[in-house]
């Protein structure tokens, strides 16, 4: 990883990101994705799965935005929307100052160089019939890029960068372990020196010791290449470790968006608080002294989400106003946005209807 050939990158990449530092790299406004449910011969639409239902956020150059939430909260759909692997139903996505919301596949192709994705399943995301050299070299062929010294040399440099041996060039994916495959996926994502890397559950399929290796690798690469990450994960410990800012999603909405320390130290949304308290801590002495908030029941269906605040059906602080009015995502402190009428660690937003 520290060989001399990529010295050049190390120096130029952060400089580039600094140049763009005056504005966000990615700006998302009112992003919506509804999957229609159709019925009958005429495919009449009878409803919609509101996977992502109006979210706003920005990603700044050089930072890592972590996105957490339980299954079905829309975090993966969000990831597919911002990389434009899926078509948004509404809202806008601006990348590097350019609106990419409804770009066609062809129109999107030049942008693919700058936006790359790392997938969860290192088994499913590599074609078993292609060699590693072919897989990592594909981005160059698709984009018609001829790297200095040829594709093969560049691929071998990338393999070395992610901690594999350049001799692996002619091997096939089945010859590698899960952790090594994830490294191959990372090498492929980094091939074209992207500005933004979206990683959907990059380590959840890996064993703990391998997981730590990959987390460290992603850390190193960010520092070396000045990458910007959006990391989607359900594991709150991993998210705490890797992120600068964190967005918590619940049922298609962002309910809280804050920098890491304020989120973990003083969560404002009751859902965030419950989520944090539910994580098992590897410390047997703590099991008795923690007060855990046990949420009742399951996440409601995104086909028919509750009125008002979507979390109110499981919230212990819910009142009348939560049923009638949807709380907006507002900054209650610098850099700490929350969508709640009765937040924790902050003044109540609806004092006339405060919980007893």
């Amino acid at each position: 990883m520290t060989e001399t050939t990529d010295e050049q990158n190390t120096k130029t990449a952060p400089a580039e990101s600094r140049a763009a530092a005056d504005g966000p790299l990615l700006k998302v406004r009112g992003l919506v994705r509804h999957f229609p449910i159709t019925k009958g011969l005429l495919k009449r639409q009878v409803g919609a799965v509101q996977a992502v239902d109006g979210i706003d956020f920005e990603v700044y150059p050089g930072e890592t935005l972590g996105v957490v939430g339980e299954s079905g909260c829309g975090k993966s759909t969000m990831g597919r929307l911002i990389t434009r692997l899926d078509e948004p139903t509404g809202g806008t996505i601006e990348f590097d100052g350019r609106d990419i919301t409804h770009l066609s596949t062809g129109g999107m192709r030049p942008m693919r160089r700058d936006v790359q994705m790392i997938f969860q399943d290192p088994y499913g995301s590599l074609n078993p019939r292609h060699t590693i050299g072919g897989i990592v070299g594909t981005p160059f062929r698709l984009q018609g890029v001829e790297p200095e010294g040829g594709v093969k040399k560049e691929v071998q440099r990338l393999l070395e960068l992610v901690g594999l041996s350049p001799e692996h060039y002619n091997r096939y994916p089945h010859e590698f372990s899960g952790g090594q495959r994830q490294r191959i996926g990372i090498a492929r994502a980094l091939a074209l020196k992207p500005k933004l890397v979206v990683a959907d559950e990059p380590v959840s399929a890996l064993d703990v010791s391998i997981q730590a290796q990959v987390v460290n690798l992603m850390d190193d690469l960010q520092e070396e290449l000045g990458l910007t990450y959006v990391i989607i994960a359900h594991d709150l410990s991993v998210i705490r470790h890797v992120s600068d800012r964190i967005a918590v999603m619940y049922l298609g909405k962002i309910v809280e968006l804050a920098d890491r320390d304020s989120l973990y130290k003083a969560p404002m949304h009751p859902y965030t608080k419950a989520l944090l308290s539910a994580v098992p801590v590897p410390d047997p002495k703590r099991r008795t002294e923690r007060d855990r908030i046990l949420l009742k029941g399951d996440v409601p269906s995104p086909i028919n989400p509750p009125s008002g605040c979507r979390f109110r059906t499981r919230c212990w602080k819910a009142t009348e106003v939560c049923t009638t009015t949807e709380p907006p995502l507002v900054a209650l402190r610098t850099g700490h946005q929350v969508a709640c009428h009765h937040p924790e660690n902050a003044p109540d937003q609806a004092p006339e209807d405060a919980p007893k």
Partner: protein, 390 residues
Amino acid sequence: MTDSDDLTKTTAATDAAAPAAIAEPVAEGGAAPTAFLEVRDLRVHFPTDDGVVKSVDGLSFKLEKGKTLGIVGESGSGKSVTSLAVMGLHRASRQQRSKVRMSGEIWLDGQELIGADPDDVRRLRGREMAMIFQDPLSALHPFYSVGQQIVEAYRVHHDVDKKTARKRAIEMLDRVGIPQPDKRVDDHPHQFSGGMRQRAMIAMALVNNPELLIADEPTTALDVTVQAQILDLIRDLQKEFGSAVIIITHDLGVVAELADDLLVMYGGRCIERGPAEKVFYAPQHPYTWGLLGSMPRIDREQTDRLIPVKGSPPSLINVPSGCAFNPRCPYADIPKDNLTRTVRPELRQVDNGGTPANEGVAGGGGHFSACHMSQEERERIWTEEIAPKL
């Protein structure tokens, strides 16, 4: 290891002395133990075209009623194979029996299971011991309603009519927290959410009040909030029924929540075992240090980097000679004479001057580790080099 002779012998030979390489006392082999569950020198090997896969290779532990044992390890360390061996599920059919070689002893409530008739083991399964699997969607039958499946599990062991059994099924669903159990009992698994399916499976496992409950990664497929609910449920049910519980997981957080004792597996063997607090606060094996260092902690300020174990888990066909962990161990060169690469370390008691693990006393509160480094050395490395960085 030259234990192939031992394995080709009939698995029924309970008196077979443990091979000398394990250096575990031979004297008590065959004697019925006093512990509720006792596993002695368990070996489960699978012959394949590429060689013999030694999934479990000499594992011993004890478990008392009302206690919880956590078995931790990475994929391929042999933890799930161990649980299936205890349940007798490797040898359920005649066809499977020829594919697996098992040796050692498994004593459940005074009865030896490896040499026992599969039919006898089947009568115990469900009634004396039950299992919760990781993936409830594949462990539940998609065609039958949840109620029918619980009823079947109950009626196998109890001579009651369907109506009584159904009442019992509703009662169990209610106990594990399924809302409207009298209605949901007729639902099929696909109509349940992931957390509810896991609850239904727990209901099925507990319907006969088993005395031993094995939970193999019971919460891995679940979200954190649901995971917390399920862990609480397992804890409450254990208190209520006083069962012995084995919880198998790769997540140290989960075992810290539940386990009284901890057993860390690596390459088919136990490399450290002891009371949970000791293993967490004074671990005595470099692999355990590696596991602790690999975990991002939600309860701590972010330390700069994780301290992962280098390399990948070993192949179970060609387990490294000597200590199986030696290719990944940063301290492999500390013991003299290349010991780590030539001699397999025995489990030795840490808190008792390093006597070899005597299975007669092990499990009852002792802390054991299989490492060639001296105890002083390990304690120095842990307190000076590892603990400050965690």
